[in-house]
């Protein structure tokens, strides 16, 4: 199909409309994933309906159509309101825009309406970034922009001189002209910290991650998620996997079901670091929560956060953008709390709950064991009794800890951490639950560590008196040691984790699959770091690397304007040059045409204009009159009318003009 125009049973769809429809359709396609299905149906229905109408019908029934449009409009507004309960916000707004964009197609009758439709298309492209800003989405949107530009080219090509190739070529040329401008704007435009405008509230919904409340099942839910939690670049070797505990919220209090954190306080700790300092950079995906994750344990707070008494990194505002921060941590340490009140809090038990578990702990205590011996006893209990590590524990009915400890004995890390804490507290040992992530996957392509949501984990810290301090105990490792040493993949059945599609599921191609995944994530990471994460700091860094030193906002603005002017100058000069070249090309084609005429015995003069020549030549050769007139008119169009885009037409006509000399009777 030439895509110049499409003909369906005598019904001709003009190239302008066809290209516009494809362009706008492409903009809407990704939205179908998150707008309600009825609205996608209406949009594509309207699109199809418009394509089947011809121009005359649109003009003739314009008033009738007005009532039709009013009716559809009513349906749309009601539908959106019923679905969302509002007209504003991201989802409702985008749905409305998509539908009204479809309506606009219906009322196209003048040039102006075309342009408005194209601009709605551009707006729809922008709105796609409210949902996803990944590289593939951006590339797709780049193609959609190209199609929209091609449809703009079509409007300005009234004579339908372009074929598919020519149209795309013209659009691509415009695209390329715009690229340097885009790059300059991107690099130089002063960045504000935080988003330029606030996204509507509902844009943050659906982000999953570690919460600061723990209920049975809250972490195992995350295990099914392939989403990235954060990426880490170490300035040095990556520590052993079993040491990679990423500290998040610390939970102190329980009501027998739910675990909640303490109120953040100033740290009052004495810490002896027993290993080398590890410095690293974390790029955290948006969480919509106000804490950061650090390798256990950080020695100071990252920029923009505060260290609490239980070594959480709390931020003032929620992390709604991808955030980069640098930290230094020590994996071996001795941590002493100087606050007796804290130890009190770490002994809290939920009133009348968990009697059997508490009784068990008391029985150990009554045996006269030391704190350390009780810890060992509890871990042995998990290890030797038939406990199972499973993602799908049975549902607990009344007392989740007691039922887990004595009946089902199947649970996930949060069950082990909670049960262990209750045991310790009942035995009089201060204990707290720590949530976060454990492990991570090294991406050999980009040489960084990826921590996925499925690496979510919960463990405990117990107080071993003045000689021990706070010590990390991971009860899960007593049941499933490989969870900690090898990562979550080895602890769970294959079928749950990152299953490659059928053909990749054997030895060799599985490696290929992983390699592809790694490469893809490495590209994505670069994209995140340098494009999406190009903030004020990155901008400063970039220009200081170029040797500009620290540029202020004013200097950036001036630089921006100067660079824009220079590149606009270069672009307009080159476009101007192209005009000359094209005009000259037309001339050389015309000379070729004149030579062909003299070859068949029609003399040509240098001082004769194209119209005079056409008139004279067509009198001499009536059989060639049509093509001669057409060629001369096309030449006039390019050379004297300034319609450079029709150069192709002239070329084509002269190429196919191969006259024969008349036979010799004359």
């Amino acid at each position: 199909m030439a895509l110049n125009s499409l003909t369906l049973r005598n019904h001709k769809i003009s190239p302008e409309l066809l290209w516009l429809s494809i362009g706008v359709g492409m903009c809407v396609l990704p939205h179908t994933l998150h707008i309600p299905p009825w609205s996608s149906l209406i949009f594509f229905g309207l699109l199809l309906f418009r394509l089947l109408l011809n121009e005359k019908t649109v003009r003739k029934y314009f008033v009738t159509m007005l009532f039709f449009r009013l009716a559809i409009g009513g349906i749309i507004f009601t539908g959106v309101f019923v679905t969302y309960g509002t007209m504003v916000g991201r989802d409702a707004g985008v749905t409305l825009l998509v539908l009204l964009g479809g309506m606009k197609l219906l009322e196209i009758k003048a040039e102006r309406d075309y342009f408005i439709s194209v601009y709605i298309g551009f707006l729809l492209i922008l709105t796609n970034f409210f949902y996803l800003q990944t590289l593939p989405v951006s590339l797709y949107m780049g193609v959609a922009v190209l199609v929209l530009i091609a449809s703009l080219v079509s409007f300005n090509d009234r004579g339908h001189a372009f074929n598919l190739k020519g149209r795309l070529k013209a659009a691509t040329a415009l695209y390329i002209y715009a690229l340097p401008l885009m790059l300059i704007m991107f690099l130089l435009f002063p960045r504000v910290s935080g988003p330029l405008w606030g996204l509507p509230k509902d844009a943050q919904s659906g982000i999953s991650g570690i919460d600061d409340e723990m209920i049975p099942g809250s972490i195992s839910e995350l295990i099914l998620s392939d989403a990235v939690a954060f990426r880490v670049e170490f300035n040095g070797p990556v520590p052993d996997k079993s040491k990679l505990y990423w500290r998040g919220p610390v939970l102190w209090y329980t009501d027998g079901f739910k675990w909640v954190p303490d109120i953040p306080k100033q740290p009052d700790l004495t810490i002896n670091y027993a290993s080398q300092a590890l410095s690293y950079t974390v790029t955290l995906e948006p969480t919509d929560k106000n804490w950061l994750f650090s390798l256990d344990i950080p020695n100071e707070a990252a920029q923009g956060s505060k260290l609490t008494h239980d070594l959480q990194l709390r931020t003032r505002r929620s992390v709604i953008n991808r955030t980069r921060y640098e930290l230094t941590s020590f994996v071996d340490y001795e941590m002493h709390s100087n606050n007796p009140e804290e130890l009190e809090n770490a002994l809290q038990l939920p009133g009348r709950y968990h009697p059997r578990t508490i009784a068990l702990a008391n029985s150990w205590r009554n045996e006269g064991l030391s704190d350390r011996a009780i810890v060992q006893r509890a871990l042995n209990h998990f290890n030797q009794e038939p406990f199972f590590y499973t993602l799908t524990p049975p549902i607990f009915i009344n007392d989740n800890i007691d039922e887990f400890m004595f009946e089902s004995r199947q649970g996930f890390c949060e069950h082990y951490a909670a049960a262990f804490t209750i045991l310790m507290r009942a035995a009089g040992i201060p204990t707290r639950v720590v949530t976060g992530y454990q492990g991570g996957t090294i991406n050999p392509v980009g040489e960084y560590l990826i921590v996925y949501q499925r690496d979510a984990h919960a463990w405990t810290e117990i107080w071993l008196g003045e000689d021990g301090g706070w010590v990390r105990i991971d009860p899960t490792s007593a049941v499933s040691p490989s969870r900690v040493t090898e990562g979550i993949q080895s602890a769970l059945p294959d079928s749950l984790i990152n299953v490659p599609p059928g053909i990749f599921n054997n030895g060799f191609s599985r490696g290929l699959w992983e390699n592809m995944n790694n490469t893809f994530d490495a590209i994505n990471n670069r994209w995140n770091q340098w494009v999406l994460g190009y903030d004020r700091n990155r901008q400063r860094f970039f220009f200081s690397q170029l040797g500009f030193g620290r540029l202020g906002r004013d200097e950036l603005m001036i630089g921006l304007i100067i660079m824009l002017l220079i590149s606009l100058g270069i672009i307009s000069y080159s476009m101007f040059r192209q005009t000359e070249i094209k005009s000259d090309k037309a001339k050389s084609w015309y000379e070729k045409f004149k030579r062909r005429l003299s070859n068949i015995g029609i003399s040509t003069y240098e001082h004769e204009g194209p119209i005079d020549l056409a008139e004279r030549a067509s009198k001499q050769r009536k059989d060639l009159a049509d093509s001669i007139n057409e060629i001369c008119q096309a030449y006039v169009d390019v050379r004297y009318k300034g319609k450079l885009e029709t150069l192709g037409v002239l070329e084509q006509k002269i190429k196919s003009f191969k006259p024969k000399k008349r036979s010799s009777q004359f």
Partner: protein, 317 residues
């Protein structure tokens, strides 16, 4: 889809033009090119000099043009004893009001026929020429604007006749075009002899054309596209006239502007929105023949001279 035609207004005006050209053709027989060139000259805001022997229809042409365009018309017969006040007007003391009152001369009309302009003395000639140049006159310290549109057709007897003061080269330059009417051809002359009295026909002449339409055309003419290729051609022509040994002096920049304006008007007259090399060639003889002095006396001031010595020598780039 069919987008609305952009140049509808232009189209309707130019179609109005073709109907008035037809009307003029019925009165002045066999002179369509001359009529078209005169109209182009008016659209380009120029003035016209007609040089020919008496009796070939110079006055009739002027009269017809004024009438079909609906312009107010005045004829000034130039004589050897003429004074500037006879053209421009004079202030006369009014005894009742005790003030001087200005009585405007014949120049305050939209369309002036300055008949036999070379019979007057240079003093009277220059009064007219200055008014043509400035489109306003200054008398006794007071500036008065001439009407719009303002158009002068001057006629001149061939300068070798007795009792004439030929216009100097510098003043010839003020006229955008110079035309020759020439004798009618055989068929046209026969029809003229058989037909009705031209003056009677003139009186009956009605027109739907208005001065406003002419002003509109005058405004539109400069928007006709002159492509780079056309400018190249025009510059080549000017350059050739300056270096060619066939001419005593080359064409002035003013002449170049006049050629461009006239060719724009010419293409507008033919319903086009862009200038072709043919347009330049069509107007060139009338626009430059009175500005160029050929070294060879044989070609002296004839349009053929231009076509032979200039147009045929310069290739279209």
């Amino acid at each position: 889809m069919n987008l609305p035609e952009q140049n509808i207004s232009q189209h309707s005006i130019t179609s109005g033009l073709s109907s008035i050209i037809d009307t003029a053709n019925q009165i002045i027989l066999g002179k369509e090119t001359v009529i078209r060139l005169s109209l182009a000259c008016m659209i380009a805001r120029g003035h016209l000099l007609i040089e020919d022997t008496p009796g070939v229809g110079k006055t009739t042409l002027a009269h017809v043009l004024a009438k079909i365009l609906g312009l107010s018309y005045q004829r000034i017969q130039f004589t050897s004893d003429m004074l500037p006040a006879d053209i421009l007007g004079v202030s006369v003391f009014d005894r009742q009001s005790g003030k001087f009152a200005f009585h405007p001369g014949p120049i305050f009309s939209q369309f002036i026929l300055a008949d036999e302009v070379n019979r007057a003395t240079p003093r009277a000639q220059s009064a007219l020429l200055e008014a043509m140049e400035e489109n306003q006159i200054t008398l006794e310290g007071e500036t008065r604007n001439l009407p719009e549109p303002f158009f002068v057709i001057a006629t001149q007897n061939p300068s070798n006749q007795i009792g004439t003061f030929p216009l100097p080269e510098s003043q010839l330059d003020r006229f955008m075009m110079r035309l020759h009417l020439g004798y009618p051809d055989n068929a046209a002359e026969r029809e003229l002899l058989k037909g009705r009295d031209r003056r009677e026909m003139l009186v009956e002449l009605t027109t739907e054309f208005t001065p406003e339409k002419l002003l509109e055309l005058q405004k539109q003419a400069p928007t006709v596209i002159v492509s780079d290729a056309i400018l190249d051609y025009l510059q080549d022509l000017l350059e050739f006239s300056r270096v060619s040994p066939d001419f005593n002096n080359g064409l002035s920049p003013r002449a170049g502007l006049a050629i461009m304006r006239c060719s724009q008007a010419w293409s507008l007259l033919h319903g086009r929105d862009h200038v072709l090399p043919e347009d330049i060639q069509a107007v060139l003889p009338s626009v430059v023949s009175h500005r160029l002095i050929p070294t060879n006396e044989k070609f002296s001031h004839s349009p053929e001279m231009v076509s032979n010595l200039l147009i045929k020598q310069v290739p279209i780039p």
